[in-house]
Amino acid sequence: MATTTDDLPARHSLGKSMKRKEDPRFIRGKGRYLDDIVLPHMLYLALVHSPYPHARIKSIDKSKALALPGVKAVITGEDLDAAKLEWLPTFHGYDKQMVLAFGKALYQYQEVAGVVATSREIASDGAELVEVEYEPLDPLVTPFQAREDKIILRDDRESKTNHIYHWEVGDKAKAEGELDGSAVRIKERILSPRCHPAPLEPCGVLADMNKATGRLTVYMTSQAPHVHRTAFSLVTGIPEDKIHVISPDVGGGFGNKVPVYPGYVVATVASVIIGVPVKWVESRTENLTTTGFARDYHMDVEIGATKEGKVTALKVSTVADHGAFDAAADPRKYPAGMFGIVTGSYDFPTAFAEVDAYFTNKAPGGIAYRCSFRVTEASFAIERGMDILARKLDMDPVELRRRNFIKKEQFPYPSPLGFVYDSGDYEATTQKALDIIGYDELRKEQAEKRKSGELMGIGVSTFTEIVGAGPGKHFDILGIKMFDSAEIRIHPTGSGIVRAGTRHQGQGHETTWAQIVAEELGLDPQELLVEEGDTDTAPYGLGTYASRSTPVAGGALALAARRIREKGKKIAAHLLEASENDVEWKDYKFNLKGVPGKSVTMKEVAFAAYTNPPPDSEPGLEATYYYDPPNLTFPNGSYIAVVDVDRETGAVIVRRFLAVDDCGVVINPMIVEGQIHGGLTEGFAMAFMQEIAFDESGNNLNTNFTEYLVPTALETPHWETANTVTPSPHHPIGAKGVGESPNVGSPQAFVNAVMDALAPLGITHIDMPLTREKVWRAIRDAEAKVS
């Protein structure tokens, strides 16, 4: 039975809403972000961008820029090509990516040249003086245009097609056969539109090549510093020991700071050539137009069911727009990420999913925005599909879900698409949500309002997420297994330093990592310093994204701490003058079995480790653990949105929104609640406000915050939250991760609510974002049909 955080037994440090240790420096303005770092003799890089989405580059004239006082260098794709640095490997290795446009520009705002100068302003002025002659070419704006192969985008590839890959999972013939034989069947094309995570701090780098030591120090806005160090080594040929990557405080990432961007490479090349530090910090427009976007999946969702509402089969066929390069940071074996989670929380007897990806004249990317490798798209597809099926069956959408939930006794649950779900109690989580929101009363209210023509909607999302990549046997980046790591050193006085291969960007690791270690060792979390982001000191890790930090690094931390406890037990036995077998760890200290009151604390053990270690034992008290999880974790939740739609304007008011999450064991409820608030706000933005749209000529229409909308406190609804706890059976502390759940689970709750409100008008589906204009148009068109 799922329980709540409040029901759990009291613990030493876990489950406590400890204030964030990192916040005092942030709220005092003492955070140290990339652009705060200024080095002697530092130069600045500005990039020249293509105004065309598709154009042949006929010539680049640097002369005027080089003549500008203060300009030190102008770098083009030709220069990089001569140095064999023109192409970057993409993370999964299926494609390569231009650093600077060379021969052709493949998307609007693509980087064409870099200007290095003594000030940011001069670099910017110099960039304007670089004269590029373009021959505009017809663009490919949609993947549907691209798949016709009338225009071939990538001259550099042997394969003369815009088709990147076909990926499939499941039994196609069986799924199609079951669909054909189903009493009830729905099919809907559902778009998860291109959007952008837009972190408040944009991306940037400060590369510092020290020619005296031969060492390259790279300060960068990185969610994965070690991976970036390896990538830099692979691209430049500089041995990895000569590269030091430091990720200072990072102002939001959401996946946007995982890829390697051209600005990073050009700044590094400039520093290597010139021998002084070179900084590049992108503008908001550069961030929105050139860095890792999210989504852009066109999904045909088909579900079959019996008349009684028991699902029989699922088939999802997706056309994916990957932009000009296949640079999504998906694992090698999973070009479509974890889209196989598309069966969601439901017990489908059979299922099939396929994805065909295409090149278009848009910026590359695809998996950013708080999404565990296409899980947001998958979750949106199944939760919308289930709602559409419920409508067709004339069944309450909650009832349909309940009839098809994977039962708690079915866990570990092997899904028809290959994943083995670890744990969950969907019925309990959903019942809790229904009770809190007062679902039955809301339905009664809705029925009354419908009599007078008012448009009130209730939307449900009972989603299952999949996070925590590894395990290494399935997931990799650049071939590196997706484990993570922790190193703990306990000082003689019982305080300590904790280092991990992750890099937080607001998640609160400095607090939660300390809580995990403190829980395992009975120490004060306030006296455990957490460090991340420095490749010279932290153990190798794969970084923080895809909600993987707690499932992977969190496990490493607990297991490293348990190694310390093992050694501590020997020291405790020495101090207690007893056999190690007679010592047990209980109530957060070492106790002599059967002798009440005879115990030593970890602090006492730590002091002894340096001052009085057991004979023939190694002094000191530290441990390292590289954790490769045996499985992924499967957080889940039941979300309910209540909306009112203004029939005249199309405006949607989110009256209530409840999120009941089950992310396993909660380390810090306050931080988890904050994570949920942030993710729900992003989900709200996706549902109602955000899309990176292009016109017919391939021009990006959302290049700044006037046109790409970010919700403020004024737009954001009030969030209600609650939780249930079904621990992950394979995770060392039972945690599952939560950062992405609200983003993954909420968009469909909003959309389902609006569609529920519009149901009396016969409206089945509207693609996100549900702007008031789109809603108004749907209402107008529906009313026109009736009249």
């Binding site: 304007t649 749209a693 959302n702 970010v710 403020t712 004024l714 008031r772 108004w776 148009r777």
Partner: protein
């Protein structure tokens, strides 16, 4: 943004010091737009700050705003309670595509002379029957009705080098009842439709001002409160479909629909 074409910044004590207007000159008020994008043809900025114009002067006949009055100063100004429509000042300040930090620099005049469809200072001053005083470079000051100033999207009646000096809002307009309707994608975002109705009490006519939805302000005057049909007919006659704005904030069709919808709401509210 760094304006890398600027070679000189003039700081005159009087606008008369700038007699001979040249290509490449630009008046600098708050600069919030001027510094937001490249101004490749501009080489000289003439800073209005040094003219020292009094921001706000209020008397029984109305209010005189200097063109250089900051939005923050305007927002902090509270007209007498009997000037009921004075509350539109706050409404229109909040309709800015800007944060309170921008309010500290942006000016009323800057917003008006930009002459963008969603300029809330245009909405405010047109709805309150304002008059603008313009200073040509080589002639006498002239006055223009606010309703006649904007001629299109980013276009107005200003002659070459002509300067907006001040805005007069008559007390008679400020004393009217008002109704305000606005549609926007985000609260602090650009307006897609902004309608203001005013009505003199007790039995005055309805004055309906339509902005943001259209490329230029449209003002409709009624002797009394029109019927719904009369209102629709008047809008039909005054606004051809071609002048409804089309951008990412809304299509002409939606803007047109909302214009009628809000106009009817205003009619009912002020007619009640």
């Amino acid at each position: 943004m760094n304006l890398n074409t600027i070679r000189e910044i003039k700081r005159p004590r009087s606008s008369d010091e700038i007699r001979h207007w040249q290509d490449g000159y630009a008046w600098l008020a708050g600069g919030t737009w001027l510094f937001s994008e490249p101004q490749i043809h501009t080489h000289t900025l003439i800073d209005l700050e040094t003219l020292g114009w009094r921001a706000i002067a209020s008397g029984p006949g109305g209010i005189e705003f200097a063109a250089t009055c900051k939005i923050a100063e305007l927002y902090a100004f509270h007209p007498p309670a009997e000037w009921k429509a004075g509350q539109l000042i706050g409404e229109c300040c909040r309709a800015f595509l800007s944060s309170f930090k921008i309010w500290n620099e942006a000016t009323i005049g800057g917003n008006i002379v930009m002459s963008l469809p969603a300029g809330p200072m245009i909405s405010l001053t047109v709805a309150l029957e304002g008059t603008y005083t313009l200073l040509p470079r080589d002639g006498e000051a002239r006055e223009v009705r606010a309703a006649d100033f904007v001629t299109g999207n980013h276009a107005n009646v200003l002659e070459r080098g002509e300067l907006l000096r001040s805005i007069h809002i008559p007390g008679t307009a400020l004393a009217k009842s008002f109704a305000f309707r606005r549609s926007e994608l985000t609260h602090l975002g650009r307006s897609s439709v902004l309608l203001i109705g005013t009505r003199g009490e007790p039995v005055g006519g309805l004055l309906l001002t339509i902005t943001a939805a259209t490329v230029k302000p449209i003002q409709l005057t009624f002797d009394g409160i029109p019927t719904a049909a009369q209102l629709c007919n008047a809008i039909d006659a005054a606004i051809p479909e071609s002048i409804y704005l089309d951008d990412v904030h809304g299509s002409p069709a939606h803007r047109r629909h909302l214009t009628y919808h809000y106009a009817e709401q205003i009619r009912q509210e002020l007619g009640a």
